[in-house]
Amino acid sequence: MAGKLKIRVDQDKCQGHARCKSLAPELFDLDEFGNAHEVGDGSVPEHLEDKAWLAQSNCPEIAIDVTEE
């Protein structure tokens, strides 16, 4: 079920620590250099909302925006 959260990885801030991919592989993907981006349009299914916040709060570069729609 679609939830109310949306995630976005700021490409200027991401340095490829890959913490988000490790904690929430359903929501984040890595490019060939290991830098992260959100899967699809960044919509977070309701059952993955905790994981979205967990990824956000473990990013050392504070590169993940989580917004409530």
Partner: protein
Amino acid sequence: MSDSASIMPEHPPVTDWVNDFDHTDPTWTENPFPIWEQLRAASPVVHTERFLGCYMPTTYQAVKEIAYDTEHFSSRRVIVRDIRPEITARAPPITSDPPEHKPAKQLLLPPFTPDAMKKLEPRVRAICNELIDEFIADGKCDAAARYTKHVPVRAIAHMLGIPEKDGDHFIKWIHGILELGIKDDNALMEAVREMTGYFAAHLEQRKQNPTDDLISTLMKARDKDGNPLADEHVLGSLRLLLIAGIDTTWSAIGSSLWHLAKTPDDRERLVKEPELMPLAVEELLRAYSPVTMAREVMKETTVSGCPVKSGNMVLLSFPAANRDPAMFTDADKVVIDRKENRHAAFGLGIHRCVGSNLARMEMTVAIEEWLKRIPDFRLDPAGKVTWSEGTVRGPRQLPMLFGKAS
């Protein structure tokens, strides 16, 4: 010239940490945590006249400001030493600043993605078990000498495509560069010379017979104009991978086992709840971050309100940042299942450790395999734990007894 000509006089013992800190002082080497607390309480940035003048940011915030500010702080010197000789042996991208940094780093990133590490993982698991086979029947071992040291040596050798048995050379060179080299330029230059000669021979071999290892990948790489990298660039990056890839992870695995040896609650919990391992690895990285980097101040500026002047070095202590109570609750405690953990063990900003995914995989596998084979262990009271000095901190002697304490 005699061997001792370039060795600086011994450093006098520190009596005033706030105004005269020294990260090579035996007190710091043994237990730096109370010192960092004292420095942090004094100022977000402290200074010493040692090392020809050096600052140290003591808070997470101040460390972050410097790591993000490549305009005022250069990476051309990444080790704080007694001397600052002319720069000869570069190791791109760690010693690079913008704009040269990004293209040099992008060459190294694809071989170190998490997916690439998954392919290497079975070999690392096998390496761990081969090592454990050699000592488990003894009921005891020096875990630093017999285990933690060899895991990253063999893994990086495997990746580079060089013989795993050459590991003893690597360890000697790294000791010369990262520890002896702080005070002894001859030891550093000798190690760099031997290492460069070693890799140059491997480059020549591959010019005749290309292989599919990381050395050949670097040799095949092209810059943005389509030209191959100069041999000197390839050799510099190889030096970096070897120096940065070994005693760092050796230290991280060693500190982790040291913590688990003296903390039965955490050890038993990880044995019972192996799914906690990813969080535990991050927390051990935070609490016992091995790597302290350096910058050189290029232009006068301020950091967290403190003035810093050019001509000084900066001891960029990610380990101290990771113990800052303003950033982490219970910063001085290991919380083995810590949920929020923006630790900076692999740096912050553009110089994020290129091998972070490799280090995490090696740590995870080395701790998992150890706990599977040796779930009960403790420090051997008859032995002594010793720690490396300077840039990378971890146990260099780690005597362990296996089995439950009687």
